[in-house]
Assembly symmetry: C2
Homo-oligomer: 339 residues x 2
């Protein structure tokens, strides 16, 4: 466990300045003599010197690209897949992604953002439903750090990647209408954010255009945005008398499938279920889940590429890149059997 050798030690031993050592070791030492360069490299190897990140970042900050990725919960399949997309670009571009998972706690989100600012992060990907542009700018203390917003951001400024939640809601309703369902429920979240509002608005518009009765007071159930939340809502779904349910996301839908099974309700014979997201799990549950596909992995790739572009080119226009959604029909939806 040897004492850490510093750049100053190397410089002293080589009889040159700290700047010379820094430049040679960072491949920018062409203007120095061959013997100087060799002497420095030999000392580095001999003492197993590793440039200290902090020292180096003060000297040549532009060469280090570190991005912070703030997600609500990395153990949710949706965000796990998103982060995988970020990581794929990071590997190709020699980026270091630092992942922060703030558990949907706004205080913690702010605290983590501040931490990232302190660490001189080069850019940020922020997936937060609850932080407004104002809150973000406050946390960034008006530092000029490029960031990309992701998921649940509508009423905000700033560059972002987005899917069309309204259209997603429309696709779910259209599918259920075509299957002959008369009474459809929306299983939404207690703490509603803009993207969920959009899904509901699209869903409602199509149902009403086809003469279905649908109003928020009677046809929207609220639960926690989790498998457990969907599971716990099963009895209320059955009591409602609806023959079809559109869940706010796949996790809720998968929980609902479990709850309905325990109540001996058959899916899709008795009740059809549509989810949202198309997480990998959908093919492994029974019955396999019909859902609205969001290109989650591609969203991770897209967000990272836009961010990189902004870091390198100082773009400050407010790019909004839209990604398509589509219906994936599997086993959890079927024709309405009610007379």
């Amino acid at each position: 466990m040897g004492k850490k050798v510093t750049i100053r030690d190397i410089a002293k031993m080589a009889g040159v300045s700290v700047t010379t050592v820094s430049q040679v070791l960072n491949g920018k030492g062409k203007r120095f003599s061959k013997s100087t360069r060799e002497r420095i490299i030999k000392l580095r190897d001999q003492y197993q010197y590793v440039p200290d990140f902090h020292a180096r970042s003060l000297i040549m900050k532009e060469n280090i690209n570190t991005i912070g990725v703030l997600v609500p919960n990395v153990s949710e399949p949706f965000f796990g897949t998103f982060v995988e997309g970020v990581q794929q670009v990071a590997r190709q571009e020699k980026l270091i992604p630092l992942i922060f998972s703030a558990n949907r706690d706004p205080k913690l989100e702010k605290q983590y953002l501040e931490q990232m600012v302190e660490r001189s992060i080069d850019g940020l990907i922020i997936a937060s439903a609850r932080m407004t542009t104002e809150m973000i700018n406050q946390a960034l203390i008006n530092r000029d750090i490029p960031y990309i917003l992701f998921d649940r951001n509508y009423d905000q400024e700033g560059a972002r990647v987005q899917t069309d939640d309204y259209h997603g809601g429309q696709l779910a309703a259209k599918h259920l209408v075509e299957l002959g369902h008369q009474r459809c429920l929306y299983l939404g979240v207690t703490n509603i954010t803009e993207n969920f509002k959009q899904r509901l608005a699209g869903f409602t518009s199509v149902l009403q255009a086809h003469g279905r009765h649908f109003d928020e007071a009677s046809d929207v159930l609220r639960a926690d945005l989790s498998r457990r939340g969907g599971y716990q809502a099963a009895q209320a779904v059955v009591d409602s008398g609806a023959t079809a349910v559109f869940a706010a996301n796949d996790d809720m839908a998968i929980g609902l499938l479990r709850g309905l099974r325990e109540l001996k309700i058959r899916v899709p014979e008795d009740i059809s279920v549509v989810g949202y997201d198309d997480i990998a799990l959908d093919e492994y549950v029974y019955p396999q889940l019909t859902t609205i596909h969001q290109p989650i992995f591609d969203l991770g790739i897209g967000a990272t590429k836009i961010l990189l572009d902004r870091i390198h080119n100082q773009h400050r226009d407010e790019t909004v890149e839209k990604f398509p959604v589509r219906l994936i029909r599997r086993e959890s939806t079927g024709p309405c059997h009610m007379v």
Copy 2:
């Protein structure tokens, strides 16, 4: 987007040294006059100055606790839950956990470790099956950075948290023997690591003690350690004629359930399936998965607490903390119906 105010600017405006500003803003300025302290704090607020992490860490490194958490794949439920445990302690202890997901790529694992060293990380939690102590020490270049090993580490030195894989394998076999199964398979991984060897050894020992025929050549199938791997192994499982399968982990078991369902094999009537880990998903698949429970969340908490202790107290003894495993019986196992 104002220009960043530096500690030098503050010092200049206050007419004091950089060190004075640093010490006052870090709560160590008692030896300076009240008016000096107040002047500095007023300037900080006025210019919304945030101490730069790099500068600060050079000055007072001991106050910042950042830990790196290297996992194979954060989007696997097992590691997602582990990271949640780490984060719980981090929130309580004002730690910053930086999560690195290296996708089981040894080159990337080494590269990330080196990055963490460069970033003057205070401690590391390393979940890697493939890195030996030698490889880790090489990446850490013998720096005195405390680290904790997690998952798949047996033949290694170093502090770690661990569960008893051998006992886990025994519990699975005992359960299947009690249900009357004569021919049991182990669905293992292609790239076998020590923890999987231990599970298999425990499993084999109990089967043989009860007079069951079991040898590796005929009774161990190999597949990729993923839901997809388990899914693809379904036909081979059926062809083997076994009535029970012990899968290397829950992901594989869940994939196998899907594959068997598509082949019209009933679980547990035709084939019983036991998983390993007890991920949250097990209760949401159908049939619900019988498994060997590992306290994953607690392992995350335990690893972080041991690491913190080592960071603060410079402990260098090689603590090995063992966590218990147990059988969780659900719906995927039942009595053997073969005559």
